[in-house]
Symmetry: C2
Subunit: 538 residues, 2 copies
């Protein structure tokens, strides 16, 4: 099937009308989608999924009328947007680095910022009244979709990577995936509703659901994450008399938080089929999609320390192709023929969390609701954040440069993961602690068998309540002991969507933050804490 290629972008842009250079122009990602997309069939009508709250909510009438378009000059005595004369920032210069490997295990990426070769300083100086996206626009109000300049790049990116199989999808710039999740619950769920999610999931999502009166039904997981058959079983045996049937699945399909597992291509298809069968909205929270580390080979780096090469990585071209060809692991958006997927992307894990920026892709009808909510809350993503993203992604990198960065970042994470896993192999007592190597993302999920704890062996005599308290106490003690030794790990119970007692305690570790030496030392200290607690010599 013919689909948009990054090499076509330049010509498509040239043939399109120029981007507006007025404050808060009304823009839509429709303007930036390719002709390939426009020829596809439309999404299904899924209005029955809207909540009572969102059904008739259309956002801000004032904002919708605030930016008349057209070639003629309009004097605005309309909306209270202070003139750029009163923004004290005259220009901003962004010194953006070419990525450098932080370890000898990662090869140097072939990504010189194009502008670097020219006049680097001036190329990255954004002035108040420059002839493209500038401070007079970025520091003014912005409509909820986002600025024309950044939204164009992001829309193209979404089409290049995911190529959604229907025509009327749209992308909008969100203030991060956490904010978008909360809004999604408001758009789709009434109080008392139940949604489905992985058995262990992001605590912010659990808290956000609870805030909105939404119950979370955890679905059993296996090595491929969410079990489609278990989900089907829950829905097929649902007692409608007891509570409204779930209409929403929330899933973190890639490098799942906290378990680190990823859904295979087949699993995604199976889950999507169940969603089709039971008419579910799928909220695809996928911030780790681009952190692709691949399989782990134990003690790899230690063995190769002398020559400093990484025999573990694929050729760059293969990895780049994986980023732009969702064939390997397609997103739900890439599978979505019906328009039932709400895909949440985030800049936090691939560029910088402080930007508070991300993007949401779904059918236009659903995105209109996201827009409406944004119009009465944050209004838009911060202008400086948008400007920084645009300058890096669009002005400096372009789509191929972005891919190069994502491949490089994946290699960096692979190295970090391997350092952590090597240390786990070295220090953790295998008889007590188990784990699987994550192939995506930034988290390692440790299972600790509490039945082997000396104080908990005589379990059968104790009531369930007594045992639960003791297990919770054990989890607390291990975390506290580790912290006392100087390492912070996260309690697994924070992630449990169903509060069921299991044979294992869990702890989540991330390899995203610490330096190489600290990754090793952190694992060593945690291992000490576990061994002391379990009375093991180490």
């Amino acid at each position: 099937m013919t689909r948009l290629q990054s090499t076509e972008i330049k010509a498509l842009r040239a043939a399109a009308p120029p981007l507006p250079l007025i404050p808060a122009p009304a823009v839509s990602s429709d303007e930036y989608k390719s002709p390939y997309t426009q020829k596809k069939p439309s999404a299904k009508q899924l209005d029955h999924h809207l909540s009572l709250e969102s059904r008739n909510f259309t956002g801000s009438a004032l904002k919708k009328g605030s930016s008349p378009s057209g070639p003629r000059k309009i004097i605005s005595l309309g909306t209270g947007r202070p003139t750029a004369d009163y923004y004290l920032w005259e220009s901003i210069s962004l010194n953006e680095a070419s990525p450098e490997p932080t370890s000898k295990a990662t090869p140097k990426p072939n990504l010189q910022l194009p502008k670097e070769q020219e006049n680097r300083h001036s190329a990255n100086t954004i002035t108040k009244h420059g002839l493209t996206y500038n401070l007079s626009i970025a520091m003014n109000y912005c409509l909820a979709n986002g600025s024309a300049h950044l939204l164009r790049f992001i829309t193209e990116h979404v089409e290049l990577v995911h190529n959604p199989p229907y025509a009327d999808w749209a992308t909008f710039l969100s203030c991060g995936a956490t904010a978008a999740t909360e809004v999604a619950f408001r758009i789709f769920c009434n109080r008392g509703d139940t949604i489905l999610a992985e058995q262990y999931t992001y605590p912010g999502t659990l808290e956000s659901a609870a805030l909105n009166g939404v119950n979370v039904q955890g679905i059993e997981m296996d090595a491929d994450d969410l079990r489609a058959d278990a989900m089907d079983e829950v829905l097929s045996s649902w007692d409608d008399a007891q509570s409204p049937r779930p209409r929403v699945l929330y899933t973190i399909p890639t490098g799942q938080n906290p378990t680190g597992v990823s859904q295979s291509r087949e699993r995604r298809r199976a889950v999507y089929d169940v969603a089709e069968k039971h008419d579910l909205i799928i909220i695809e929270d996928d911030p780790y999609y681009f952190l692709r580390m691949g399989p782990y080979h134990s003690h790899h780096y230690e063995a190769n320390e002398t020559n400093g090469t990484d025999t573990n990585h694929h050729a760059y071209e293969d990895e780049a192709a994986q980023v732009y060809r969702s064939e390997s692991i397609p997103s739900y958006l890439a599978l979505d023929t019906s328009g039932r997927v709400v895909r949440l992307d985030s800049a936090s894990k691939i560029l910088a969390p402080g930007l508070r920026a991300g993007w949401v892709t779904a059918s236009r009808h659903i995105i209109n609701k996201f827009n409406a909510y944004q119009e009465v809350s944050t209004l838009a993503v911060s202008g400086p954040s948008q400007l920084m993203l645009w300058n890096l992604l669009d002005e400096n990198w372009g789509h191929d440069g972005f891919t190069t960065w994502l491949v490089h970042l994946s290699r960096e994470y692979r190295w970090r993961r391997d350092v952590l896993l090597d240390a786990c192999n070295k220090y953790l007592p295998r008889e007590i602690v188990q784990w699987n190597a994550p192939e995506f993302g930034m988290f390692l999920w440790l299972k600790v068998g509490w039945r082997q704890h000396p104080g908990l062996k005589g379990l059968s005599d104790l009531s369930l309540g007594e045992v639960s308290a003791q297990i919770v106490g054990l989890e607390e003690r291990i975390v506290a002991k580790a912290l006392e030794k100087g390492v912070l790990v996260t309690k697994g119970s924070l992630f449990a969507s169903n509060q069921e007692r299991e044979d294992h305690l869990h702890f989540r570790m991330t390899f995203a933050a610490a330096e190489e030496g600290d990754l090793k030392e952190g694992v060593r200290l945690f291992a000490e804490a576990v061994c002391e607690e379990f009375d093991l010599g180490n």
Copy 2:
């Protein structure tokens, strides 16, 4: 009474512990309040005002445990915060201008950026690992309160300007006043509740209330804005059997949007007394507080055009004193002995709207709820926005510099307002259009007597429904005709909290955005539209 002076800040900061330089430190404005504040009595317990939704909501457990404090190094394998090694922005240089008058009517402010005299370039270059607030912190996650560096300045600012009369107030950085308003409704209101507001108010607030199932009861206004007696009357005669008694007043007390009127000192006291009597929460949405234009003297600038001086302005010292001494027009926060005021400030109207930043001040207990909501939505204000604000306000200006800017900006707005009002005097037909000169803010509210419209004079024969449709039609036609001529004004009906027919149509004009010539031309074109519609020769 002794209160904090800006001259004391330096010593207080020196005596306090240094600001943390770790990602996402847990900070509180308590750390930045002066000893004067700490000696005051505590706020009242107002927990009964919390909504069912917010009552037990405490935010994110994961975030609360994510940044252990203390002098000892902790290796974080805890939260997934990507290392600063992967933020591609190495440094940002901010070229901040000294403010310049945009009109000869405004004197040049005495505000040279202090750093400008030294090495301007290096002073405003923020590097990734600089020894104060830097990119490695700003581009990482930030806890909901805000960064230590900006929160300190804002907390000091709030104390200097408002000096809240109780001890346990707190300030938190919000993503703008619109977002804060929506969250405030969620914190205090259940579905079906009614809040009080000015008869005409910001449409975003009406939409936000409607979204949350909250009814808005408009309170009559006079030349001093909200009528305290009318509010008392509404509450005293409330039929509790019909619907729950209002517990929240939402007010825009200064340079009200859309009417431009401001509550006098006496009116504020009277409204606060009614709030005390009926136990109301006051949401004080006050983005125009610092745009202080003073009385208008007609045709002032035209008369003085030859010598170019502005005889209308007070001495700079008087105006600066007004900013820091809330005696002239105190905010509700400054009057709030009970802790029932939630004050919303915004950077949008005084610095730049694209920052999507503001601050909320209220009792600590209430601010904890704002924090909790932020933890499951945007998480924090954009890092680049915080960094820009901090660099300008704290590193360059300091508190006295900020005051100087606010005085200068007020003078600029005075000039803009006068240009607009002079044009109104010159062009608008007084027999049809009336207005009062606003002394604060950025809006002019025009009343148009529809009874004088040739097509509406034989009114008494028509049913109310027919008249309403005709009045709405007239409003639409005037706005459409003005837009056709090239000027955008805003329909008054967008702002009406009660949909009652009145003797006047309303239109809102702002003088915040257009250039001098366009302000005049815009009014001329609008006057043409009105005259044509009313069959007046002009």
